[in-house]
């Protein structure tokens, strides 16, 4: 009899306890981790970054007035295009860099939904952007977490001159 009672009690407990939560605990923001490095080991002054063609107030992705040897930024990539352009304002000059990529939308989880995964495959630059280097071509929702302290998807070398 004890077994039979425990059968019923545990069955009810099981049914009640299986009410699964539906919160999302994972990131779905896919951002390309970018490091800005100045030439000649010079400090980088104030930098503003916007998406190419995004000139409306509120379109600024990054606005940092500090001076530092290295600046780290997480930048979003285009969803409906195979390349993404950014405008970098520093030393009162607007420079651009472009990243060519492929994209694949994947399901993260039931509670988080879908997120894009990118593969970086080429770059282009203008102005004071000296060069670009793709370090880790795979960009996904965990890139920011992966490169939280060091490492990056792409390195942007800026042409700096000593004043």
């Amino acid at each position: 009899m004890r077994l039979r009672i425990s059968l019923i009690i545990f069955a009810v407990m099981l049914l009640i306890s299986c009410n699964s939560g539906s919160r999302c605990y994972e990131s779905t923001d896919t951002l390309m981790v970018t490091t800005l490095i100045g030439s000649k080991s010079l400090n980088i002054g104030p930098v503003i970054i916007r998406g190419y063609g995004k000139n409306v107030v509120g379109d600024t992705l990054y606005n940092n007035k500090d001076t530092a040897l290295v600046k780290r930024i997480a930048l979003p990539l285009a969803l409906n295009s195979d390349s993404t352009g950014f405008v970098v304002y520093f030393n009162n000059i607007a420079s651009t860099f472009w990243v060519r990529h492929t994209m694949n939308i994947q399901l993260i989880s039931q509670s988080c939904g879908f997120a894009p995964y990118y593969e970086l495959n080429a770059t282009k630059r203008t102005g004071l952007v000296d060069s670009l280097r793709i370090n880790v071509p795979a960009v996904g929702p965990k890139s920011v977490e992966t490169f939280a302290t060091n490492g990056q998807n792409i390195t942007v070398y800026l042409h700096l001159t000593a004043n």
């Binding site: 059968l7 049914l15 779905t28 979003p76 993404t84 399901l107 939904g113 879908f114």
Partner: protein, 270 residues
């Protein structure tokens, strides 16, 4: 009057013999295939926020008393319509394996089981993403991914209880640890729920079932299965004072195969 007195006298004389002549009802142990239904599959939509539907049927058959070769089969549908995506998934699945009773049977009528078991599971299912939406700084993308046919293989460790609540009617539950072996990959949508396997959000998904089963009493016996050798006694000893074991000594080894409802039988041992 004389005749009446004589009748009463004879009656009193033979009355103690009635007790011997009156047979106690025989107690048998019944065995046979058991067919069950996992009722948790029907209750789930009312308990969880899930959109799962489907059914699962189960069958087992006793082998040497404590071993139960088991087969389970079912069909599952998932229709998950959220703000960000609409996903569907459906397909049949089957599991094959066995349970081993680790509980000691106390009497001929004791059929309660505490068991551990192993399963091999296979599912053939189709999934489709009817719509998905993702937005960021650059805008919004909307995608749909067509139907793809996938399959999955997995293993299961099972622990459960099963008790005979009414004659031949069993109620029980199991907890299952599942070990995905091979799951066909989809480039866009890793299936987050697989029919028969459950949610794939963890490496070892846990699941449970709540079963109501009916046993076809095809076999009857007077022998209680020996407990498995886990330090227990070699042979089951019965309490002579237990009324459920009242015919044990005189009828042992008189098991027989019967048809349901019939009390007759031959003397073959189960």
């Amino acid at each position: 009057m004389d005749k009446i007195l004589r009748f009463i006298f004879i009656l009193l004389l033979i009355s103690p013999l009635w007790g011997f002549a009156q047979k106690k009802p025989e107690v048998w142990r019944y065995e046979g295939p058991r067919f069950g239904l996992d009722v948790s599959r029907f209750l789930m939509p009312y308990i969880q926020n899930a959109t799962k539907g489907g059914f699962e049927i189960q069958a087992d058959y006793p082998y040497k008393g404590n071993w139960f070769p088991t087969i389970e089969a079912g069909y599952q549908t998932v229709d998950d319509n959220k703000d960000a995506f609409h996903y569907t998934n459906k397909g049949p699945y089957a599991r094959i394996g066995f349970d081993v009773n680790i509980n000691k049977f106390e009497s001929l009528t004791d059929n309660d089981l505490v068991f551990v078991g192993l399963r091999y599971g296979y599912s053939l299912f189709a999934q489709e993403t009817l719509a998905s939406t993702y937005s960021n700084y650059w805008g919004t993308t909307q995608n749909a991914f067509p139907k793809s046919n996938l399959s999955a293989h997995w293993g299961e460790l099972v622990f459960g209880l099963k008790g005979e609540l009414l004659r031949n009617i069993f109620f029980g539950w199991t907890i299952r640890a599942k070990f995905p072996i091979v799951v066909t990959k989809d480039p866009h949508v890793k299936p987050y729920v697989i029919p028969g396997l459950g949610y794939t959000s963890s490496d070892v998904p846990f699941d449970f079932s709540v079963t109501v089963a009916y046993r076809l009493p095809l076999i009857r016996t007077k022998t209680i299965p020996k407990p498995l050798k886990t330090g227990g006694r070699e042979r089951q000893e019965l309490d002579p004072n237990d009324p459920e074991n009242n015919n044990q000594n005189e009828n042992n080894n008189r098991g027989g195969r019967i048809s349901p409802g019939s009390m007759g039988g031959n003397n073959s041992q189960f």
